[in-house]
Symmetry: C2
């Protein structure tokens, strides 16, 4: 019998990506299609199915060779029910029975997962976390997401809110407001959005910076500009980057003192900042955390880039396939 193949589908606010992945985690073929959530959820479910079919066609295989499917989506969800509830990035979708639809359509075992959890599973399986027993992922983009994997199990939580690591509170005296409306969340300090906001605040007070001109055109400033300016020695940018590393070290320390994983991985657009940024985080962790986990837990950059979601979704399909074969 040929080794089983899986399809992972990662649904994003703008595009969705499906990949055919083999039992070793190699992506055979991946295709992107626009999500076009505004066209409604019936359209969206069809688009998911089409994207899966297109990936299978691109891989030049027959659907019969696919052992299981995994779908990862953003937004609030009920993981046990397999339903997206009210996803902010997929308006106007509501209560979309993704798992049942895809399962019925393809008549395959279908796993359903939160996108950050799926990315964590992808990195754990064949990315930066390969070989670890437990791993925490922070995804640093517009927001801060998270995923926790312990011994092949994703920590989904009882109400699908496991590993919402961007929303751990790190400040009580003078908390910043988060995009979620609440206060003091890690995301309000360490997302790309927060990095830009904090820089602009700083530039109001301190104009001696290569970034000073952005005060009059704030919407053009990106986190990448700030990291680049820091690399070139700009003192304001350097201070912001260092503080961002500190905030992430606080979040990491809280994971070291609760999950105590053997690896913490940072993914998402902001990790383009590279190993220098990782080193800054690690230096702070060594001061903030207890000596043993502070020394022994490895910190790494994610490896799979934009493939993490569909590879991880495929990994979830693969685990489901294995469980069903065991039972």
């Amino acid at each position: 019998m040929a080794a089983p193949l899986f399809v992972g589908l990662d649904v994003g606010g703008t595009t969705m990506k499906a990949g055919v992945v083999d039992d070793e985690g190699q992506v055979y073929a991946a295709v992107n299609m626009p999500t076009e959530a505004h066209r409604g959820q019936e359209f969206g479910l069809n688009r998911m199915a089409d994207t899966i079919v297109n990936a299978v066609v691109a891989a030049r295989i027959d659907l019969d060779h696919i052992a299981a499917i995994g779908v990862a989506t953003p937004g609030t969800m009920d993981l046990r029910a397999g339903v997206i509830l009210d996803p902010p990035n997929l308006r106007p979708w509501q209560n979309v029975p993704v798992r049942k639809y895809i399962g019925d359509r393809f008549q395959k075992p279908t796993a359903f997962q939160n996108d950050a959890n799926a990315a964590a599973m992808g990195e754990f399986w064949i990315g930066a976390g390969r070989g670890s027993h437990s791993m925490v992922l922070f995804t640093l983009g517009t927001g801060v997401g998270g995923g926790i994997v312990i011994g092949d199990l994703i920590l989904e939580g009882e109400h699908s809110h496991g590993a919402e690591l961007g929303h751990m509170k790190i400040e009580i005296t003078n908390p910043r407001q988060c995009g979620c409306g609440r206060w003091g969340c890690l995301e309000a300090y360490a997302s790309a959005t927060a990095v830009v906001k904090r820089t602009l605040e700083h530039l109001e007070k301190e104009s001696l910076s290569s970034l000073a001109s952005y005060v009059s055109r704030p919407s053009e400033l990106t986190a990448r500009d700030i990291f680049n300016a820091a690399d070139k020695g700009d003192a304001v940018a350097d201070k912001i980057v260092e503080e961002t590393a500190y905030y992430l070290a606080v979040g990491t320390t809280n994971m070291l003192h609760s999950i105590d994983p053997d690896m913490v991985v940072f993914g998402g657009g902001m990790t383009a900042a590279g190993t220098g940024f990782l080193r800054r985080i690690h230096n702070h962790v060594k001061h903030l955390a207890f000596p043993v986990p502070g020394e022994k837990c490895e910190l790494r950059l994610a490896k799979l880039g934009s493939d993490a979601g569909c590879t991880g979704a495929a990994a979830c399909g693969r685990l489901l396939h294995r469980q069903q074969r065991q039972n």
Copy 2:
């Protein structure tokens, strides 16, 4: 064959307690003996064995009826190795091979666990957490401890630092120093010690309080005095209790946004404050947390009191016994 019995031993800085526990979690007989750590670790290991034997004698059974033993201890430890490393509460012990010693001495399967983790397992098994699938315990005493149980598994962590919940950071701008030497830890805000310290600080500024006289005899003030004064309407005490509930709500929210358990339990001496205090914590959680876990996660007071440790240690022995029978 008779139902199996277990012995749980909970070693504390002052006393140790052993109980014979049946398969339903009922404690048949429990005995306390002084730990007397200053007499050295050889003495301590013998004292552990004696305490176990005394509990078995008190239960009027034969050692042959004991299927497994569990031992819980405080301090830094290597759970996989079964060794206490350098326990602050058990000076001058160092690198004490507890699991091997007790296992060899009694020739029984022997589990070894951190005391707060064991207490969590006890509450999960037959206490406040009974019937839950996952549970987080905060123990509120001189310090703040924690335990996380997910589906019968204790989250020990890879380096025995799982659930060190007193040392999650909740403040970055103006952090208090913790007894651990680090800054901004939950314990520095919400332990009984911290409650007393914060009250004394407040009384320096605001002397209109029934507690005012304690400023000249600070060592006599206890957390219980403060909770009692709050119950009687003292405004300073009420403010301190309310703030303490808020800090614990922040810690709880961070668990809801990472572990997402179906129950959070508060144990330890400070929970003598009762259900009014629990309600205060819950009110803050509802504002701080996402709506779904904030509404659905239950908050409860621990039920087992000072039996939590030895019952939980017995539960760990029981799980080991079951695992060994399955393999």
